[in-house]
Structures are given as structure tokens and as C-alpha cells.
Symmetry: C2
Subunit: 273 residues, 2 copies
């Protein structure tokens, strides 16, 4: 039976999940679009409910995806085009949306080993930046994010859009700075922070492997207590009028510097064999 | 005399400038906030009109700024807090907003010389990405942007916010791909493009000085005709599930690779003296 009313309870619950409080209360979040639903399936995310608008879902790929999800025992709900427009945040809705269970890891589960890095974000504010950082983390093969204190929600729809599916490849930990500091000291993991005030050039450091990279918030950067915990502080040089870069760009430059050093080292090792 | 009505003609004209068509018709755009107005003044932007809401403008810095602008002959209009709220796109309005004349350069004015780079953006869609790219351009001392074909507007409020004032340090050219291609061939400037399909690693190239960097749109990247015009195509390596990076991050990585090569070369030259 197709749902044709926007007042349907499940439809209303889907829309409520745009709100952070509702996501926190339920431990759920929403995704929309073919590509991201396919990514969720591939990465083994726990889909709770799938909405399908047959009038928009025209591709064979999309229809096969629905069958795959349905055959794994997930509830599939057909909705009219009008109801789907009410769910959708996109201009050109593709007829597929899902409610998915959030996946969080604890600090105890965050294990670093050679080649495996994590990034620590202190009170990141902008969900678009957070999504973009997840996307870059995925690109360099980083393992996960530790979100400290007042960080924005990685399951925000804007973060989801920015991550381009990387939300499903990254481990996510949410904790306080105090607990993170205890864990870092216990484990003895090397922590590198960035600040425009640091004297060491980000390219003058040979990064340890594994390494924890810490980035400050958009407005305030890293504060005294964060800097004090870092084993090294580096800065990205700038020669213009501004004294800072966009946080997602700065994090991208740091992640790629670490990634580039490792792959060139590997290449050098092979060349000397 | 303080304006207390949101229906005031100048107030309504300010709001209309949020619309791209109105900006194109008038050649004007709007800025809001102390820092960006100060940047506009410092960089010699042509301010046409300044709105001041005295009840929000409490800092001495802000009041001196108003005096500076007024003494240069610009119309200053006092508005009530309510009227300013109607103008403002910010949560915490700071009481200062301005109408500014757009500044565009022609291709003929875009001259490259050693150390001076330009970036070419093919149909960039997202104004936030464009703003972030301007901010990174400023950070590495790049000269300007050439916006091709269906590119978004650098004077969009979202681009403005992302640029953090870099809009005033960058030269901007808007043209078609065909005219750009003619100019590039006539001038003989080296053009480097990026694509995930390119076989050459972005770090395996020694970038010419000066150089033109070309980046494709968010969804489509560079197409056949663009690739054909490039002297070299490079790719940024990725090892994750995604096959692309955020455009502002990818542009940041390219701009810093070029910048880093130059500053290390300079350092090497000095070391060998």
C-alpha cells in the first residue's frame, strides 16, 4: 500500500530527524539518494526503514538496490511523489531515502597502528566542514574522527552531503577533552596540533606513524590546554592578508602532508631494495 | 535622521542585492560585519553606501571605521536595530553593512609574471566553495581567478562569507571557455589541469612559474575540450571509497603544492649561496 499523506507517522518521524535533538534521542539519522543508500548497504550500515517513491525511482540500479535492502529484512515503504517531496531536501529527488542507525565507537575501541591515523576535532562548528573532512579522511585512508566537546553532529544532513558517503567508512568517537587527554597520555600516542602561531612549518616535521592530528574550531583554533597536550605544534605558512585558512582546507593539507610523506617513504624503500 | 522603517527604499534595495540578477543589473553587492568592511576600506574597494545601526555598533574600532568611511565622502545611513535585523543575514549582527561596487578585470588585464599565478574555474557551482578558494588563493599569494562559463557569482553572500575578505585581494575575470582558450594560446601560458583519471601524480610535476591552474566543476570535473587545452594533467592520489575530493580541498592541495615547491626552491637557492 502506498502512503499518500504527509501526515503519516513514519513520514513525520523521518522529517523530525532533521533536528539534532531528535537524532540524539533516537540514535537514528536519515540519508537520501541512490549513491549514499548504496554506500550504506555496501558498508554494512544498519538501515531501519527505506522510503521509495516509485515515480522518481526509474533506474534499474535503484530498483535492484531496493530489492537488496528488502531481501535483508528491512521495512520498505512506498510513498507518493508528493510525500517524497515533503521528505526530501534535494532539488531533484531520486526517490530513495532511509532511516539509519548511528554508529559510534568508544575511545577504548580507537586503536592506532602503523598506517592508521585518527583526527581529533575540537568543537568544530560547521557541519559542511565536518562532512568535507570525513571525505578527505576517506581519501587518505584515515580511520576515524574523535569529536571533542561542543562539536557539531556528523549525522547532520549537511555533514552527510559533504561526506559523500565517507560517513560510513569512518569510525566516530564523541568525548570530552578531559577524557581524551587521559586516554592520549595512557596510550602514549603522538599528537600533532596546528596553529597559525606555531613556529614549526608543517612540512619541516617527519610525522610519526601512527599519529593523532588535532585541529581547532573555526573561530578559536586550539586553546592553551590543547596546545599543552600536543607533542608538536605546526603551522601552515600563509603570505596573504588573512591569518587563517578554511578548517576543511587546513585539515586537508595536514592529512595529505602525512599521507604524502608515507607514500614517498614507501616508494623510497622500494627503490633501495 | 535614523531610518526606522524596513520599507525604506535604500533598505529594500540592499535586500534585493541578495539576488544574483539584481547584482548583475546594478554591478553592486553587499557586505556585512566590521572585519569585512575594514578589509574593503583597506583594499580600496568602492563603497557606495554604509548602513550603521548605532545600538549594535559598540566597539571603538567600529566607530572609527564609520568615521573613516564618512570622511572619504561615502553616504552613511543610520538605521534602527529592527531595520538592521531586516538587512542582516547574521545571527549576531554587528551593526555595519555596506553596498559596494563590483570590480572585474578583463582577460587582457590578467598578466602572469614569475611568482604570480591565476586559477581557472570551469563552471564552479557552489558559492561556499568559491569563497573558500578565494581565501586559499589569498593565503598563497595568488593573483586572481578566471571564472568560465556557468560559474557561480563570487559576489554571492555565501561566497563572501567563505572568502573572509579575500574577495578584495583577488582579481576576478569572467569569460567563456572559447575566449579563455584563445587568450591562453596567444599568450602561451602553461596550463595545468586536474582529473582523477590523470596518470601523473600532482607531486611528480615541477610546476612552471608562472602557471595557470585549471579546476573542473564539482559534479563533472574537466571535460574533453578542457583537458585538450591543458599542457599537463595531474591527479591527487586517493586510496578510499570515494573517487573525488571536495573542490575547495582539491584546489587547496594544488595551490599549496605549487606554493610549497616555490618556497622550497627559494630556500635551496639561498642555502647554496
Amino acid at each position: 500500500m502506498m502512503i499518500t499523506s504527509r501526515a503519516n507517522l513514519k513520514v513525520k518521524q523521518f522529517r523530525k530527524l532533521r533536528d539534532r535533538k531528535e537524532r540524539q534521542k533516537t540514535g537514528l539519522f536519515t540519508i537520501e539518494g541512490l549513491r549514499i543508500v548504496a554506500e550504506a548497504v555496501e558498508q554494512g550500515a544498519k538501515i531501519e526503514l527505506l522510503f521509495v517513491a516509485p515515480e522518481f525511482l526509474v533506474s534499474e540500479f535503484g530498483q535492484q538496490l531496493v530489492e537488496t535492502v528488502q531481501s535483508s529484512g528491512v521495512d520498505v515503504i512506498e510513498v507518493s511523489g508528493d510525500v517524497f517531496h515533503g521528505l526530501s531536501l534535494k532539488d531533484g529527488p531520486k526517490g530513495l531515502a532511509a532511516v539509519v542507525r548511528q554508529r559510534w565507537s568508544s575511545l577504548a575501541e580507537a586503536r592506532l597502528s602503523p598506517g592508521i591515523n585518527w583526527t581529533v576535532l575540537e568543537s568544530i562548528q560547521n557541519p559542511g566542514n565536518l562532512g568535507t573532512i570525513m571525505r578527505t579522511q576517506d581519501a587518505v585512508g584515515a580511520e576515524g574522527l574523535i569529536l571533542l566537546d561542543q562539536s557539531t553532529d556528523p549525522y547532520d544532513p549537511a555533514a552527510m552531503r559533504g561526506s559523500m558517503g565517507a560517513i560510513f567508512t569512518q569510525q566516530l568517537v564523541k568525548t570530552s577533552f578531559a577524557e581524551f587527554a587521559d586516554w592520549k597520555r595512557q596510550q602514549g600516542y603522538p599528537l600533532i596540533g596546528t596553529s597559525d602561531a606555531a613556529e614549526v612549518d608543517y612540512q619541516a616535521v617527519t610525522y610519526p606513524d601512527p599519529v593523532l592530528l588535532m585541529m581547532g574550531s573555526e573561530r578559536q583554533g586550539l586553546k592553551g590546554q590543547h596546545v599543552a597536550l600536543c607533542d608538536e605544534m605546526v603551522s601552515i605558512p600563509m603570505v596573504g592578508k588573512n591569518d587563517s585558512l578554511n578548517l576543511a582546507v587546513a585539515t586537508g593539507l595536514m592529512l595529505y602532508e602525512i599521507f604524502n610523506q608515507r607514500r614517498h617513504n614507501k616508494a623510497n624503500l622500494i627503490n633501495t631494495l
